[in-house]
């Protein structure tokens, strides 16, 4: 039994039943799931959650669908890692990495897809579909296979090799579209009108899908001992995750799981080659101007972000900031996180860490704050990006002399300890 009371348009407030609807029929505003929070509060407790599965489904009372056997590969409850070595490099105090590389298909998308397909199945859909920059494609294909659903995944034709393989292996249909992600997204938005019997997770069931990202906030708070952080840094693609993370902390307080009302500053991270939200933040405008993306951070390369306006609004109201980093800084961010904390992130994670570094240097993210950075995808998905900048120390003959020579050369060139 879920606690959903219906859907409501974020723009004009019109209400709708909890069906496969994602935009308001009147003004095209996004629909948002509404809950009966009084009933949730009467049921939910820290103990009830802590006794639940070590997945996102431990928070089922605050999700838009419940099912005794959800479409589940084990998404969520990923490590929250204290990052003292990275904090020291950045001049920060208490820093944590939410390591969502540890999800079943290697990204946070497993959270939203598990929710979306569980709801889609409940609504009677037999086919799962999506427009994706890669991570979502991996997750939809895998979860559809798990659920015995057919899948139809549309991706831009120039994605990283691993993301294409990790989607195709599950046996569903995969269409590589000759165009950008925004082209793929437009095609899927149009296809949704022609194929109403397909559950496009980020189109007609997007209302439910998006709610899955709240579990990032739920887990962070639980893993911090039922406390909210002071500041979170979140990458922005469509902007949905950022707004839902903020909503998640607020909901925990609303249903009585946090003792104090959270006051979480939410900051956004983008790549310079696709930074419509960071640009609007820098210019102090409310209008998000669409852009044509050009960045190695392909998973964030959404030039016309559906929730860009809401992400910007969330950032401003929370006292956070939004910044953008160059592709070179993205690669530095990936290597810095790997070198200091042993976590290998994809390019989007590099965007987050590089933006964190930038905001820390500017004094926006402060040493006296408890900070959480969302690292949302695994580095193995985007190895091409690092092809030219990391590799073996040396290639040597299988002899002691050759090894000693290479060690000495490396010690001389890097001033690394020769031991």
């Amino acid at each position: 039994m879920d606690f959903v009371s219906g859907l409501r348009c974020r723009e004009c407030g019109r209400t709708y039943p909890a069906e496969a609807l994602h935009v308001c029929d009147f003004c095209f505003g996004p629909l948002e799931v509404t809950y009966d929070y009084e009933r949730v509060a009467a049921t939910i407790s820290r103990e009830r959650i802590e006794a639940g599965p070590r997945t996102i489904w431990r928070y089922a009372d605050l999700l838009p669908v419940t099912d005794p056997a959800p479409v589940d590969l084990g998404a969520g409850f990923t490590p929250l890692v204290r990052a003292d070595r990275l904090a020291a490099e950045l001049g920060l105090g208490e820093l944590w990495i939410k390591d969502d590389t540890a999800n079943p298909t290697g990204s946070f998308k497993d959270r939203v897809v598990s929710v979306a397909l569980t709801k889609a199945r409940q609504l009677g859909f037999k086919i799962a579909a999506c427009a994706s920059t890669g991570n979502l494609a991996n997750s939809v294909a895998a979860h559809a296979a798990r659920a015995g659903m057919d899948s139809v995944v549309l991706i831009p034709h120039d994605l990283e090799r691993a993301k294409v393989t990790m989607t195709s292996v599950y046996g569903g249909r995969v269409f590589a579209v000759e165009g950008s992600y925004d082209d793929v997204n437009r095609l899927c938005a149009e296809l949704t009108s022609e194929q109403p019997e397909w559950a496009f997770v980020n189109v007609n069931v997007r209302t439910y899908y998006a709610e899955g990202s709240k579990t990032l906030a739920f887990e962070v708070a639980e893993q911090l001992g039922w406390r909210a952080p002071d500041h979170v840094v979140v990458p922005i693609g469509s902007g949905s995750q950022l707004t839902k993370v903020a909503k998640g902390f607020q909901e925990l307080y609303q249903v009585g799981l946090l003792d104090e009302e959270p006051s979480v500053r939410v900051s956004g991270a983008q790549a310079e080659g696709c930074s419509p939200v960071a640009t609007a933040f820098a210019e102090g405008t409310d209008a998000i101007r669409p852009v044509k993306p050009n960045t190695i951070a392909k998973s964030l390369a959404i030039g016309n972000p559906a929730d860009g306006w809401y992400a910007l609004d969330t950032i401003k109201r929370s006292g956070g900031a939004c910044a953008a980093v160059t592709d070179a800084e993205v690669l530095d961010g990936i290597r810095m996180l790997a070198r200091t904390e042993g976590i290998f992130a994809e390019t989007a994670g590099g965007v987050t860490i590089a933006t964190l570094a930038k905001l820390a240097a500017q004094g926006v993210v402060r040493k006296d704050e408890r900070v959480v950075a969302m690292v949302t995808g695994h580095g193995l998905k985007t190895v091409e990006a690092l092809g030219d900048v990391v590799g073996p120390t040396a290639t040597i003959a299988p002899t002691l002399d050759s090894f000693a020579e290479a060690m000495a050369a490396d010690a001389a060139s890097t001033q690394r300890s020769p031991t």
Binding site: E11, H22, V23, D25, F26, C27, F28, G29, P30, A131, G179, Y181, D182, D183, N185, R186, C188, A189, E190, T192, S193, E194, P196, F200, N202, V203, R206, G237, S238, G239, S240, R289, P290, K292, I302, N304, P305, A306, D307, W309
Partner: protein, 90 residues
């Protein structure tokens, strides 16, 4: 004539039809012509200032008209205009 593709949310205005043909020499003229042919479109897709609503995207042959000249973008016979809800993806 310009072919105009209608999203499911607006097909109640066209009697369930997903594609209609409208005359006009700019994107704005075609959309106004659409409202004249099927009353009710204007209030759904235009805001109070007469621009496109924030969550309505219009594409001329696959290109977002916001990258062109918006409602003033010229159109020629044989082109296709698509009205698409903006909230999708990501």
């Amino acid at each position: 004539m310009i072919k105009v593709r209608i999203p499911a949310q607006l097909r109640t205005l066209t009697g369930g039809v997903g594609e209609v043909a409208i005359e006009g020499s700019t994107v704005g003229e075609v959309l106004k012509g659409l409202d004249a042919a099927h009353a009710g479109f204007a209030e759904r897709i235009f805001d109070a200032e007469g621009g496109l609503r924030r969550f309505v995207n219009v594409f001329l042959d696959e290109e977002d008209v916001r990258f062109l000249d918006g409602l003033a973008t010229p159109v020629t016979d044989g082109q296709t205009l698509s009205i698409v809800p903006a909230v999708a993806g990501g």
